[in-house]
Symmetry: C2
Subunit: 429 residues, 2 copies
């Protein structure tokens, strides 16, 4: 077994490994077609999402073939553009779609018109892509789609159900973008930020066959008692909104590769922890809930490990991902990861063998460029010594204020990627 680094250092290395696994510069290049594969064709790069510009830049930098054969257009969130030479970067609004997104979607569809069999379309999809590609079916407007969207989000429908409806009101989603590329080959590189990593749910699957139907979408709308505008109802009842189904020959040459997912990020961290001699257990890549409550539950499991050797024996590392939520009640400086960590620290009560790091893989937990924080056995005592009361700070949603005062913040700067939250708990033996 290699010499063990101090727990806080190891935890930081695990987080860095998780983030690195999702860096476009690292996870995109292995999936680029070779110049030989491309042969006489063109490489057309399209895409949408918060990471799409960084992904496009990685393509340009690592493409081994003739730069003149490379072209394309991707759309990213306002402010997320990075410099590219051959691929046009457009920006649009997120999370509420705007006219710029609609124009970008049209631009992308134009870019794949008239392709030939020898051409390859590289489609770069990441979180946020759905809002950034808002192209309503003929007869519908952005306002129609937004009305349905708002009603669905307020109805308690699951994200999978919401996406089923979305895919049947779009001129580009639900496999339609891949169909438009026909007869070219389509390679979609996906960075996932949704639980389950279902390709048809990431950006509403513009290049993925969709087994759900207009009838499914109608049933969802009716189940939640949503009043939809007449043109929307017409699209769904007439079947005019039908998406591209599995088996459609236009998608015969379309393939999907998951290049970065929350699970892959956890697995990358797990490898580093194992190399350091720790047993590693991945509790889930989609643990969700109110951040402070998730922190309490994780504390209960950590204490069980430390005190009873159940369900795992110490020493070990427990990893989890997912995206918690925070109900803001206080005036503090916080984020969902530091809120979860502060609740975890309070509930573990300064246990002598429990350490943890919780941070957002995009480098921004809440509103500040602080990714998260780290805690250990001395955290609570240090806080009391400085006059900080952990539960008062938690009540005030002041996670960043709390951990910053202890010099325990984790700062990375913007990572230009996102595979959700990263939580690592280290229990010494």
């Amino acid at each position: 077994m290699p010499a063990c680094p101090p727990p806080a250092d190891l935890l930081r290395r695990l987080f860095d490994a998780a983030v690195a696994s999702a860096q476009p510069a690292l996870c995109v290049p292995p999936h680029l077609p070779s110049p030989q594969e491309l042969g006489a064709g063109r490489l057309v790069v399209i895409g949408a999402g918060k990471a799409s510009a960084a992904m496009a830049q990685a393509v340009e930098r690592h493409w081994q073939g003739d730069p003149m054969r490379l072209s394309g257009v991707v759309v990213t969130r306002d402010g997320y553009a990075v410099p590219c030479e051959r691929i046009r970067i457009r920006e649009a609004a997120h999370p509420v779609p705007d006219e710029a997104g609609l124009q970008a979607a049209q631009h992308i569809l134009q870019a794949v018109q008239g392709l030939r069999e020898e051409d390859i379309v590289l489609c770069l999809i990441s979180g946020g892509g759905s809002a950034l590609l808002p192209l309503p079916l003929e007869g519908l407007t952005l306002a129609h789609k937004q009305a349905v969207n708002r009603a669905l989000l307020a109805s308690g429908a699951t994200i999978g159900e919401i996406n089923t409806v979305r895919r049947h009101l779009s001129a580009i989603k639900g496999g339609r973008l891949a169909a438009a590329c026909h007869p070219a080959r389509v390679v979609t590189l996906l960075m996932s930020d949704v639980p389950g990593d279902q390709p048809r749910d990431i950006a509403s699957g513009p290049t993925v066959a969709d087994p759900t139907t207009c009838a499914d979408a109608l049933a969802i709308v009716q189940r939640y008692g949503i009043e939809v505008p007449a043109p929307v109802r017409e699209v769904l009842t007439s079947g005019r909104g039908e998406s591209v189904k599995p088996g459609d020959p236009r998608l015969d040459r379309a393939e999907v590769r998951m290049v970065a997912t929350p699970q892959q990020a956890l697995e990358a961290a797990a490898r580093v922890a194992r190399e350091a001699g720790y047993a590693v257990h991945i509790l889930g890549d989609a643990l969700e809930g109110e951040a402070r409550e998730v922190g309490k539950v994780l504390a209960g499991v950590a204490l069980q490990v430390a005190e009873r050797g159940q369900p795992f024996t110490a020493p070990c590392v427990l990893l989890s991902g997912g995206e918690t939520t925070v109900t803001v009640r206080g005036q503090g400086r916080g984020g969902r990861n530091v809120e979860c960590l502060l609740a975890f620290a309070s509930a573990t009560g300064g246990h002598a063998r429990i350490h943890a790091l919780m941070a957002d893989t995009d480098g921004v937990d809440g509103l500040e460029e602080i990714a998260g924080a780290v805690m250990g056995p001395g955290t609570l005592a240090q806080a009391w010594a400085r006059g900080l009361r952990p539960l008062d700070e938690l009540a005030n949603n002041n996670g960043h204020g709390f951990f910053e005062a202890l010099g325990a913040s984790v700062v990375t700067g913007p990572t230009l990627t996102n595979v959700n939250d990263f939580r690592a708990i280290l229990i010494e033996g």
Copy 2:
């Protein structure tokens, strides 16, 4: 491997095993002294807690010696008395102490006056015992103690800290009751409902040596900025409130046996599940937090098991205990276990291989004599078919209404015991 019962049946058997492990009629008798052990002495039964009357009844029914050598007095919560012949059952108020509790405490101290070496005191302690034994130190009143208690509960102090203060303001807690029994032998039978099962925290440890000091109690009061009445401050600063410390010769013949704990209940269920051929993993005996959020986290873990075989391979059973909380917002009929289960069912989305039972071991989840409920892959579809919207029902805190409509309630009647919540998740292979 024995033939496997249907998951819902097995889950119910696990719950029944957990409850049975904590039944006074089953868990008390193995710890009774034999008539030979008692010799020429008397068996004096004392105790306090919600289960103390049922424990006393179990002593009477299973005591093998001369009934005339058996006597005693225990205090239980108003309404929790059961018939006893030799042991006097007193009732008092819980959770806010009253004069009846104070008189019962005095009565108990009188019952152990003048004992001899050959006598055995059997002390029956269970949850709620602290409030039921309110005997302030000389110079303090019930009102003084209540004022300190209220301030501590509102301050964010941990239950361990609150108990440290309580033990230094009492004439019966912190080992004083055992000291009063000297020179008799003292056997304390503990039923625990507190996380960690720390004997000195259960009913504030009337028969257990206390390593904490008046100085610790003062530090806690100061840490949380609590203004205490002058007589309370005097008791703590003068050291007059000092509890009985480890090594005190009066406690040389005092021993403590945990006869029922949340952990033991989970272990009892685990044995039944293993006999049925399942791998079993105990996530924790003290998982706490807002019930619906705990349900979401457990759902995330169950889905990880079902979909990725992490951190455990299916088939398996995941057990957990503890006591969740419910913030009531709706008008429905609910309880913390059915609320947790409804959130769990929604978040697992009708997964084909996930089943669960969540119930309160005292048989009463919330306000009704329904212990909890059971769910399986068909639960959500059945609900929709009856026009029940799971998330609406959850928002209305209507867990009992929801599961009752599906015929999925778990009803036991009052179990006369309590080892907190019981949660079992079964994931098929």
